[in-house]
């Protein structure tokens, strides 16, 4: 991709009709599957030690969207989770807080209550999943009402799911227009667009979905809901990082990336950070542009952090479960 002066009009042309959009998305270069997997595996072998590891662990903690998306979620659990997001390691005031908590829309008030109780200085964002998460199988007006509800409750980040059925049957414009509609509904909040890459079948589809979501105005592109296996994988995230890099080259706009689901260990998280740095570039090594959707990952990061500070291996007994 190269920067052209007529970029804006070229992107506008691409979304002018279903046929034009299909022509554009199918005109994107195909992903070399073996190459992408090998590159991701290769980047995963980098050795990150001592001060670089300390930096990576603290950065990863700052990038966590601490998530609870269970049918069994209670206000109490969300309050506990929000407290943990502000002070992941209560024994250590130097431990940074996480980027956000991620909950269902009806749980947003409880998260807000806890997070703003700290005088609104915690800096922890509230992300809510909306648009009939996780399946996305509802009428558009219901999805928009869901978004509205979350925004009014105080969510400043909305995680929407795309209509995979429409996407897979090639109705790209429908998906595009839905994202645009949600983008309008979120107002000042940030919009993260979830692809559910485990259902998209091919890397080519992931690349197409990435471009589609970025052209529609998503602030973040996110791999998965965490409800479908496989969730986030290194090669899928690699394809998405390439897409945001190329999109910035073409349009000058930066879009964030959020892998979610299945990232459980500090080692995994560091592999992702290495990939962000090598593929998208150091500009993305920031909680504003890269996030981890995770719940158990945080405890492992905290255990590694404690290990680096005390010189002894820590155990799960010393950290809260949720």
């Amino acid at each position: 991709m190269t920067v052209t002066s007529s970029t804006a009009s070229f992107l506008a042309d691409a979304t002018s009709s279903d046929a034009a959009l299909r022509r554009f998305l199918h005109g994107l270069p195909g992903v070399d599957q073996v190459g992408a997997e090998q590159r991701a595996a290769g980047l995963g072998t980098r050795s990150i030690k001592t001060s670089a590891k300390e930096f990576a662990i603290d950065l990863a903690i700052r990038m966590v969207d601490l998530t609870t998306l269970e049918g069994a979620d209670t206000p109490g659990k969300v309050r506990a989770l929000s407290t943990k997001a502000m002070h992941p390691d209560p024994a250590d005031p130097t431990c940074p807080s996480t980027a956000a908590v991620c909950v269902y829309p009806d749980m947003v008030p409880f998260a807000k209550e806890t997070l703003s109780h700290a005088g609104g200085t915690s800096g922890v964002h509230i992300a809510a999943v909306a648009t009939a998460f996780p399946s996305g199988r509802a009428a558009l007006d219901i999805k928009l009402a869901d978004v509205q509800d979350a925004v009014e409750a105080g969510a400043d980040e909305i995680d929407m799911v795309i209509d995979r059925g429409a996407f897979l049957s090639g109705r790209y414009l429908e998906v595009y227009e839905e994202i645009v509609a949600v983008r309008e509904a979120v107002g000042d909040a940030h919009l993260k667009v979830i692809f559910e890459t485990g259902e998209l079948q091919t890397y080519d589809n992931v690349r197409r979905a990435s471009w589609l979501a970025m052209m529609a105005g998503g602030h973040f592109i996110k791999t998965s809901t965490g409800k479908i296996q496989p969730a986030a994988t290194l090669p899928v995230t690699l394809v998405m990082l390439e897409a945001v890099r190329d999109f910035r080259e073409v349009t000058g706009q930066m879009v964030g990336v959020k892998p979610a689901g299945g990232i459980r260990s500090s080692k995994d998280a560091i592999k992702y950070l290495v990939m962000v740095n090598e593929v998208a570039g150091p500009d993305w090594l920031d909680p504003d542009w890269f996030r981890f959707g995770a719940s158990t990952l945080l405890n492992d990061l905290l255990m590694q952090r404690t290990k680096m500070q005390t010189g002894r291996y820590s155990g799960p007994d010393y950290f809260t479960l949720d």
């Binding site: 010189g311 002894r312 291996y313 820590s314 155990g315 799960p316 007994d317 010393y318």
Partner: protein
């Protein structure tokens, strides 16, 4: 035509699998006459960490089995060992230069030791627990419970020493990370093959080979290890340092003096790694 030697690679035993050391290191092990015998894995602190993780994961399932069932499993190790006595006798003779009669004595003692501890599985609770008399309308019961993950530094005796420290720890429901005898590590991996093919769930016994002075401090200081058995530590200064490290999270520590492993054991190998839970229960309605 001469047949090519089928040489054996001795690896570690972690979580029911036989991985190589994460560090890729190994060290040469000599037989009793000082000739090269085989290479053993030289475990690193990360192998120790992985082993603790495996032991912790196995603890829930193992400790919640009935004592009777744990006894059966330990007895099963004895059964499989009995079938493979010749292999172990040969290994002991190569490792320590024992006579045939002496090797047989040690292997038999190891098998008998397993059977002895297997029998204790469902009896230790009656000996160390029971009903307590209290001044009030309550039943008051004490019951022994396993401590959790126990790090064990095995003594140098290749088979009997190893069995004598592993069996009492696991039979009560603990899971173990064992640092095998440094001069005789190979038999411990052969014993691991016995464990893997008897009914011991993966992760209940994890065996690391390598220098104890390098690995033991990481286990002694590990916050997710609940007890440490220093039977195999002969260096007084190392033992003292390990005790100091172990104090950080109040591990149960066993540091015995010199022991005659062939003598009938006392109960303390089991009781050291048990905790007593006492419950009060109202009487009547």
């Amino acid at each position: 035509m001469t047949r090519i030697d089928v040489r054996k690679t001795y690896k570690l035993y972690i979580g029911g699998a036989f991985p190589r050391s994460e560090s890729g290191r190994s060290y040469a092990v000599n037989d009793a006459r000082g000739r090269f015998w085989a290479n053993a894995s030289h475990a690193s602190r990360k192998d120790a960490r992985d082993a603790v993780k495996a032991a912790r994961a196995a603890f829930g399932g193992w400790s919640s089995r009935t004592a009777y069932n744990r006894g059966q499993v330990v007895y099963r190790i004895a059964e499989v060992l009995e079938d493979r006595r010749e292999q172990f006798e040969a290994e002991l003779r190569t490792a320590e230069g024992l006579t045939a009669a002496k090797a047989r004595t040690y292997v038999e003692a190891a098998i008998d030791r397993l059977v002895w501890y297997a029998g204790w599985a469902d009896k230790i609770a009656q000996v160390t627990g029971g009903a307590n008399q209290v001044a009030g309308p309550y039943f008051n019961h004490s019951a022994p419970e396993p401590s959790g993950v126990i790090a064990v530094v095995a003594p140098s005796g290749p088979l009997l020493g190893l069995v004598s420290v592993i069996a009492p720890a696991i039979v009560t429901g603990n899971t173990t990370v064992v640092i095998a005898s440094e001069p005789h590590p190979l038999t411990s991996i052969t014993l691991a093959e016995v464990m893997a093919t008897s009914d011991v769930p993966g992760g209940v016994v994890n065996i690391l080979t390598g220098p104890q002075a390098e690995i033991a401090p990481w286990l002694a200081s590990h916050m997710d290890v609940n007890g440490i058995d220093l039977t195999g530590v002969t260096d007084d200064e190392l033992a003292r340092n390990l005790e100091i490290e172990a104090a950080e999270n109040l591990k149960r520590v066993r540091r015995p003096g010199v022991e005659d492993l062939l003598a009938p054991p006392a109960l303390d190998r089991m009781t050291t790694f048990l905790e007593t839970k006492t419950v009060w229960h109202p009487m009547g309605i």
